[in-house]
């Protein structure tokens, strides 16, 4: 162990001063991952909490593991692969290249910006690099992944000053980029099943195009409530299994990494809006408006977004009251887009980006309220 430490210390100096300076941010990240940085306090507080960003982000990745496992299995199962392990391996081998490309390209950009700004690669990207692949269909061309990650990292994050300064969630920025530039590869009926020429509509698409009551259409296609809850239907890799996402949610909430306010508010906003839509949808024969409110919660990317995307602390509202408003806004918007947008049945991604854009404004009003309250004290 001692010799390894010494080796790392020597290497650190060599890289910093050598011709390969540009990889130093990467080396620094690996170095501090292997061993704690070993910096001592100089001023008070003389002791510090054991938490750091690595632990913080590590827990998010840990919480994503159930979605990775079930999602991989489902990709195999949808493609007709028999057997639990075989199906998992089939799906995992679809997911792995996407993750590898995301990390390689994303970390490359992070390294360049780390070099320019003189800091190590920050832990935030480790999460982005898993989140993005899980929101993509298994058939996504890898070059598109590379382009999207570049866009998400550079335009979504680095131009604002890097991790912590970004306005939008970088993973969703990347996904939105793909959605608007190459819609053929990320929407429609033919991209969700990893078999050539095989089409399989997502439950949301099936519900949107139903001519009779949506539930009947769903049930006829095999998309029962329990099927969608466990996640054995076509969709983006990580989004289909509500149960796997909820296990992740429990981990995030127990450890305090994610805000329960945001998650709950998003659920309340979506469920409430879906109830309203359902109430006023009594007169139509088919389509999204006939869908019972609770179906919305297990379909499409809603739960994945509500648990992992809305709660990104950087792009979400930062004040406690702001988090309620932000979450409800996203929930309501997601349902509105789903129900009233004729072009595309999913609304969660755009709703969250919409929430991201508004979160500074929401915080602004909460801060103004604090200022007003402070001024009125004693009057």
């Amino acid at each position: 162990m001692k010799s390894l430490l010494l080796f790392l210390a020597n290497l650190d100096v060599k890289i910093k001063e050598g011709p390969f300076k540009i990889v130093h941010p990467m080396f620094g990240a690996i170095n501090s991952m292997l061993f704690t940085p070993g910096h001592g306090t100089t001023t008070g507080p003389h002791i510090r909490d054991s938490i750091d960003m690595k632990r913080f982000m590590g827990i998010v990745i840990f919480a994503l593991v159930p979605s990775i496992l079930v999602g991989s299995y489902n990709v195999g199962a949808q493609a007709g692969v028999e057997g639990l392990f075989a199906a998992f391996m089939f799906g995992f081998l679809k997911l792995l290249p996407i993750i590898v490309v995301t990390y390689a390209v994303g970390l490359g950009w992070e390294m360049i910006f780390g070099h320019i700004n003189g800091h190590d690669i920050h832990e935030g990207f480790l999460v982005t690099g898993i989140l993005l692949p899980l929101t993509l269909p298994p058939t996504i061309p890898l070059w598109q992944v590379a382009v999207a990650v570049s866009f998400g990292t550079v335009i979504g994050k680095e131009v604002f000053g890097g991790t912590g300064m970004n306005l939008l969630n970088p993973a969703l920025t990347a996904r939105a980029f793909l959605f608007f530039t190459y819609p053929g590869n990320i929407s429609g009926d033919s991209v969700w099943v990893a078999l050539d020429g095989f089409t399989g509509a997502t439950p949301l698409a099936a519900a949107a195009s139903s001519t009779g009551p949506a539930v009947e259409t769903l049930n006829a296609a095999g998309f029962t409530l329990s099927n969608m809850f466990f996640g054995f239907n076509p969709g983006s890799i990580g989004e289909t299994s509500t149960i796997a996402i909820l296990i992740g949610a429990v981990i995030l909430l127990i450890t305090g990494v994610a805000s329960w306010r945001i998650m709950l508010a998003t659920l309340i906003g979506a469920y409430g809006m879906a109830l309203i839509v359902q109430f006023f949808g009594a007169d139509v024969a088919g389509g999204m408006r006939t869908l019972p409110a609770h179906y919305h919660l297990v379909m499409g990317g809603f739960m994945f977004g509500a648990v992992f995307m809305t709660t990104d602390p950087v792009s979400a509202a930062g004040t406690n009251i702001g988090k309620w408003i932000y979450g409800i806004l996203i929930g309501v918007m997601a349902i509105l887009i789903r129900v009233f947008n004729p072009a595309y049945p999913e609304g969660m991604m755009l709703a969250i980006l919409f929430g991201n854009v508004f979160s500074p404004l929401i915080d602004h009003f909460v801060v103004q309220a604090n200022i007003k309250r402070r001024l009125n004290y004693g009057k």
Binding site: P45, R48, S50, I51, M53, R55, H122, G318, I371, G378
Partner: protein, 448 residues
């Protein structure tokens, strides 16, 4: 009597609290008065190395306000005037010889009651004890030309391993009462005395104060938090605050006619086998107080508590406002995959380590930062350790962009670095909230 039950805050479970046992300091070889203990003070020296001083001799004055005197806590010879960077005077070290003392007039309680405001002020300034009175905003020595809205005294001990106020007062309730009488001349407002369930009994019979009871985790004992709940500082207002021990020191001066420099300290921290109290001198040398030797490379000696104290050393001195020494282990080096550990003994506010299942277990954390500085990422947790209607992250961001108006609006006048110390402690991005607040306070002072 107001009762305040604060919910927000956090008590770090630490080993090494002081048991209620008072010992005498093994020896008194040297003392020091440290101008750096007083924020933004520029000392005007009255002595130099080699001079002989008595207890109560003037060592230096405040250059901006020469009426504010600093007197020697012991008799002896001035060993050295220690200067730091840019020749800033850090401390005046005095080798203790004998105990000759300057004589002052002494007063009875009745005489003190008949003092006018200007008389009281003059006596306090001359005593060398004026620096015991501090003000908010800016948490520095009180401006004697100002008329404070109220004076606050906190006898609530909430900081990690903090010394208990009644132990520090060591039965000097009469002196404390006399000190209160003198302070009451300095304000037309009230004197607010906050107590906890532990210290209530000792202060129950004190007259001339408005008594409040505070309970809850740290920083419930911080005077800034109490001011916020009892009578908030509005724009243009000033309040003063004094520690209970200093109140009784003022009382001792009035009756004794000498500069009283005896002071009780708590020796605490996980590096001590057992914490206890020790009676020594003001400005005491650490190695004079402890009956064991400390190792400066493996142990961190802190003057004050672990959150807001100042790094000292075995050969260092205890600060003017500090009444405890905390000794914790120094960082041990780099740990293999530290961020992946299960953390049975990890000190953490966050429920991310196994130690969360044993919340009562006392821990012995080192001075490890446990990470590197990052951008602000986490939100919502800092508010949990700040029991005030203040938005810590927004206030700090306002300070960082030097938006004076916003800083004012978000409460810069109400806070001191110590009030947000727990934010720095729990921060996963390792942001120094205390330094930022300090910077904000300095900016405001300059804009003044």
């Amino acid at each position: 009597m107001g009762v305040f039950k604060l919910k927000k805050g956090y008590d770090i479970p630490l080993q090494g609290s002081a048991e209620r046992r008072l010992e005498k300091a093994p020896k008194t070889t040297a003392v020091a008065v440290q101008p750096i203990d007083f924020r933004s003070l520029r000392p005007g020296m009255k002595i130099e190395a080699g001079d002989t001083v008595s207890r109560g001799s003037i060592l230096f004055v405040d250059k901006q306000k020469p009426e504010i005197l600093f007197r020697s806590p012991a008799a002896g010879t001035v060993r050295e005037v220690v200067r730091g960077e840019r020749r800033v005077i850090q401390r005046i070290i005095i080798d203790v010889v004998g105990d000759s003392a300057e004589k002052f007039e002494s007063y009875t309680a009745d005489q003190v009651n008949n003092f006018s405001a200007s008389q009281a002020k003059e006596i306090l300034l001359n005593s060398g004890l004026w620096p015991t009175i501090r003000q908010r905003p800016f948490s520095k020595i009180a401006d004697f030309d100002a008329l404070p809205k109220a004076i606050f005294i906190s006898a609530v001990d909430s900081a990690p391993l903090q010394a208990e106020s009644d132990m520090l007062l060591d039965g000097q309730d009469k002196q404390f009462q006399l000190g209160i009488q003198l302070l009451s001349k300095l304000t037309e407002g009230k004197i607010h005395l906050s107590v906890s369930t532990k210290t209530k009994a000792f202060f129950a019979n004190i007259k001339g104060v408005e008594l409040h009871e505070f309970s809850g985790p740290h920083p419930a004992g911080n005077v800034g938090v109490q001011i916020h709940h009892i009578d908030r500082i509005q724009a243009g207002e000033k309040v003063w605050y004094v520690s209970p021990r200093h109140v009784s020191q003022i009382g001792s001066f009035l009756t004794g006619g000498e500069y009283p420099s005896s002071k009780t300290y708590a020796l605490t921290g996980s590096e001590l086998e057992k914490g206890y109290y020790v009676k020594g001198r003001e400005g005491a040398l650490v190695s004079d107080l402890a009956n064991m030797a400390f190792n400066n490379t493996t142990q961190r000696v802190i003057s004050g508590n672990v959150l807001t104290g100042v790094k000292s050393a075995a050969q260092g001195f205890v600060g003017f406002y500090d009444d405890m020494i905390t000794v914790v282990p120094e960082l041990e080096g780099r740990r293999f995959f530290g961020w992946l550990r299960l953390g049975l003994n990890a000190n953490s506010f966050w429920p991310m380590f196994l130690s969360k299942f044993t919340p009562k277990k006392k821990l012995a954390p080192t001075t490890d930062m446990n990470g590197e500085e990052r951008a602000f990422v986490s939100t919502g947790e800092y508010e949990k350790v700040v029991p005030m209607d203040v938005l810590p992250v927004h206030l700090c961001k306002a300070i960082l962009v030097e938006d004076i108006e916003l800083m004012e609006q978000l409460g810069i006048y109400e806070v001191a670095a110590e009030d947000l110390a727990l934010c720095s402690y729990i921060c996963p991005s390792k942001i120094e909230f205390g330094d930022i607040i300090q910077k904000g306070i300095e900016t405001m002072e300059k804009e003044g």
